[in-house]
């Protein structure tokens, strides 16, 4: 029995719509029964929570909508459960008590669309800056994309600090990660007791931009800039979502090229991370050598696409640039060399006792917590759960390659390191297979038709975990809704579990072990030392300073 029929049978009267498009089961229920439906589904089926999406549907149906997206673990299917609410009194039941992983997504919807979630344990601001007015929700359609917050409010960091422990701020700038983030560690001697996280200093409003300013084919280039390391997976994911929504057939050769570059990206991303991990453990020699090996991959990417990073290759319907015979030959040679060098390096790295001692048994993430809190990617697989989008929901040319998915059960930092090492080696094998049988033909689909009001959902396995793009197509060559969920968003909440009772010296490597990726811009915060008031400088003030 399909999920749709099952739901219709049990919640019959409350189901407003239940349709299946490709591999997406779309169910719209009455908002009173939303929580029950999801409770039932998560109990009956082995569902993996992906994300929640808020949509301002007032121009069409005069409602605000919430979609909760799940994927099925056993087959390549997605389940989208939607409900709508009155824009004058936007209240929906929170599903966080049933699905803890939905915590952040619901807070984000509350910030950006103003939908309140009843029964949410901690419905505080997540994404919006502290000086943003309470009643303006940026993703609503009547808010222009270039609106700036004009009021200057005095704000303090509203974190609940335990009084009896030393507070150790990590961030907004800290040598641990050269990106803006804010962890507050509560330390008792050399032991971390608790941790609070505050991020989104750098929310750039890319979704709003994609919904108002950019055309379909411009979005991939902005999407690629979501991440400075794994950008290609974002543009691929976006293109796939639109291709799915509009039922565009992508030429096989383009899919191969996408897969090859996705794997190259995974390799250089993992090598980058291994280097950073070495640095955090004080083993700078490992850091340098890891990055030396990575450099071969970067140069190969430049040879294949014209760019070391941010390839600018994806368009809806395919890719812009072909790989020629010389490129294939070069790639095979480079991969062979990298494999040799990497194996030698890994052997050296794992033979260092003090490095291994600091990774083993620290930052443990139990299997249950990993699944419940929605960890993704290597973080999830290091805790013993075999879930990889490339295998569970194959996309691009991954069906054509055979590869294994490394899984470790320890859930500690060492397991997360070993997963990434294994995956890097596995990537080499995938690329070699794909290069071997890359078919001839076009690289870009012709005659693309644009349809309005279609839903597209696509997932890719980024180096850091699963990456999801959700689109609703609109008119005038512009998206109606574009939702992005990057993997770090799902992985950050599990840090709280990993950091508890962890020695302070292992906190940095534990934080880094999820390979967090924040983007690199920040607002200015002025702190008055005398009275301890922090003030976020508004855009108006920055303009006055002629920045």
């Amino acid at each position: 029995m399909t999920v749709n029929n099952d739901i219709l049978k049990i919640f019959g009267d409350y189901v407003i719509k239940a349709i299946t498009i490709d591999n997406i089961d779309y169910i719209e229920v009455s908002k009173d029964k939303l929580k029950e439906t999801i409770e039932y589904l998560t109990k009956e089926y082995n569902l993996h929570y992906i994300t929640s999406i808020g949509v301002d549907d007032r121009p069409l149906t005069r409602t605000l909508r919430v979609y909760h997206v799940f994927s099925r673990v056993v087959e390549d299917k997605f389940i989208v459960i939607g409900c709508s609410t009155d824009p004058h009194y936007p209240h929906v039941d929170s599903i966080t008590p049933v699905v803890p992983a939905a915590n952040w997504a619901e807070r984000e919807i509350r910030d950006l669309l103003g939908i309140k979630f009843r029964g949410h344990p901690n419905l505080e601001r997540l994404v919006l800056p502290d000086d943003w007015p309470e009643d303006i929700h940026p993703l609503r359609k009547d808010v222009p994309y270039n609106l700036r917050s004009v009021v200057e409010v005095k704000v303090t960091y509203p974190l609940k600090r335990p009084r009896e422990h030393t507070v150790l701020p990590v961030g907004p700038y800290h040598p641990l990660l050269h990106e803006p983030e804010y962890f507050e560690l509560y330390v008792d001697g050399e032991k971390v007791v608790d941790v609070e996280y505050r991020g989104f200093h750098v929310h750039r409003g890319i979704e709003k931009l994609g919904e108002s300013r950019l055309t379909y084919n411009q979005v991939p280039f902005v999407a690629e800039r979501i991440c400075g390391i794994c950008g290609f997976t974002h543009s691929t994911c976006y293109c796939q979502a639109v291709e799915k929504a509009m039922k565009i057939h992508v030429p096989e050769r383009a899919e191969y090229i996408r897969s090859i570059l996705l794997e190259l990206e995974r390799m250089h991303s993992h090598l980058l991370w291994i280097g950073v991990a070495c640095h955090l453990l004080g083993f700078d020699t490992g850091f340098m050598h890891s990055w030396r090996i990575r450099e071969h991959i970067m140069r190969l990417c430049e040879r294949l696409t014209g760019n070391r990073k941010t390839y600018g290759l994806n368009l809806i319907g395919g890719v812009r640039r072909d790989i020629n015979k010389d490129g294939v030959k070069k790639a095979i040679n480079v991969l062979k060399m990298v494999k040799e060098e990497l194996k030698r390096f890994i052997e050296c790295l794992l033979s260092l006792k003090e490095v291994k001692a600091r990774l083993e048994g620290t930052g443990i993430l139990p299997k249950n917590d990993a699944w419940k809190l929605g960890a993704v990617g290597p973080t999830l697989r290091a805790s013993g759960i075999k879930y990889d989008v490339r295998a569970n929901h194959p996309y691009a040319a991954y069906k054509e390659a055979s590869f294994s998915i490394p899984v470790y059960t320890e859930g500690d930092n060492l397991a997360r390191l070993l997963i990434r090492i294994d995956e890097t080696l596995e990537s080499i094998s995938i690329i070699e297979q794909l290069l071997d049988k890359i078919p001839k033909g076009d690289i870009l689909a012709k005659d693309i038709e644009v349809h309005e009001g279609k839903i597209g959902l696509s997932m890719t396995e980024a180096p850091r975990g699963e990456n999801i793009h959700f689109v609703i197509t609109g008119k005038d060559n512009i998206l109606y809704r574009w939702k992005v969920r990057a993997p770090t968003y799902a992985n950050l909440p599990v840090l709280k579990v990993m950091l508890k009772e962890c020695p302070l010296s292992d906190a940095p490597i534990t934080i880094a072990s999820i390979d967090p990726c924040f983007s690199c811009t920040d607002r200015v915060i002025v702190i008055d030392i005398k009275n301890g008031v922090m003030r976020v400088t508004s855009f108006k003030r920055l303009l006055r300073c002629k920045i």
Binding site: L176, E354, R358, P508, I529
Partner: protein, 302 residues
């Protein structure tokens, strides 16, 4: 009085040479990491650059914050003055061995105190880490001094240089010293007090500009001082074998020892990761049997 002038010359040469030595270590590190590396004079440039910068002091820091690096620096300079550079130092006196160790330890503690007085939590954690390492490490040097005093009835550096002979206890002393100065010079895996990625340079975090320059210079000088001290002991030990009589060649030999030690240590520290605090302290404690054995042997007159 030519020895006094030569000693002063030795001090000046060492003050400059220590910076070059650090540059050399950076070059070696670069080679191991397959990089090109900065020029050998880079540390000198760094220190000069820092001295030219604006002096910034946190408004909450006590005056100790500013004075600690200055006093710490002058203590190290005094230590340089009492050291024999391959020939008896006319400024040496009975008991200057104890003063030397006192100066080294006190300058470290002063720096820690100055850094942590800034009130920065990272500085406090770095300080507490460093102290726990210091506690274990100072026991080792105390045992070494006791051994020298008992075996050779010497508490002055000049007599150490003159009277050391090869014996089981003296070989153990040199071995212990080699380990002690490695730990004392805060190299990987023992640099837990600074640990840049963990606690953002630890007790150094609030220092900037000239004060940071002074702290870094003091740190480099301390390293070289430890090498010099060990080289003096080694030279005293092998004096009868190599039989150098010329003052200049003895001084050059000491500098050679210092350079070799520096190269050796920088290679070791580049193939290490950082210890956890507990592991570091345990590693230091594991060394303690060595000087204890030396002490027992010295009682037996071996």
């Amino acid at each position: 009085m030519v020895e006094l002038e030569l000693t002063l010359l030795g001090v000046i040469v060492s003050l400059f040479y220590s910076l070059i030595l650090d540059g050399l270590e950076r070059k070696i590190r670069a080679k191991i990491q397959s990089r090109k590396g900065p020029p050998i004079t880079q540390t000198l440039y760094d220190v000069i650059k820092l001295f030219r910068k604006e002096l910034l002091i946190p408004s909450t820091a006590p005056s100790m914050f500013m004075f600690a690096p200055i006093v710490s620096f002058s203590m190290i300079i005094i230590a340089y003055l009492i050291l024999p550079y391959g020939f008896p130092n006319p400024m040496g006196f009975y008991g200057d061995l104890i003063l030397l160790v006192y100066l080294i330890v006190a300058s470290t503690i002063l720096l820690l105190y100055g850094g942590s007085s800034s009130g920065n939590p990272y500085a406090e954690i770095g300080c507490s880490r460093e102290i726990s390492l210091l506690m274990a490490n100072e026991l080792i040097i105390a045992l070494v001094i006791a051994t020298i005093a008992i075996r050779y009835h010497a508490l002055s550096l000049n007599t150490v240089l003159a009277s050391l002979t090869i014996s089981p206890s003296s070989i153990l002393i040199v071995l212990t010293l080699l380990l002690y100065i490695y730990i004392e010079s805060a190299r990987l895996p023992f640099d837990i007090g600074e640990a840049e990625p963990e606690i953002a340079s630890g007790y150094l975090i609030e220092y900037s500009g000239p004060l940071l320059g002074l702290t870094i210079y003091t740190h480099i000088l301390k390293r070289t001082l430890l090498y010099l001290f060990t080289s003096v002991v080694i030279l005293g030990l092998v004096d009868n074998i190599i039989q150098l009589s010329d003052i200049i060649s003895r001084f050059v030999t000491i500098l050679l020892f210092v350079t070799l030690l520096s190269i050796l240590y920088s290679i070791i520290s580049n193939i290490c990761g950082r210890f956890r605090v507990r592991h570091a302290v345990n590693a230091v404690r594991a060394i303690i049997p060595l000087p204890v054995l030396a002490l027992i042997l010295s009682f037996l007159g071996l």
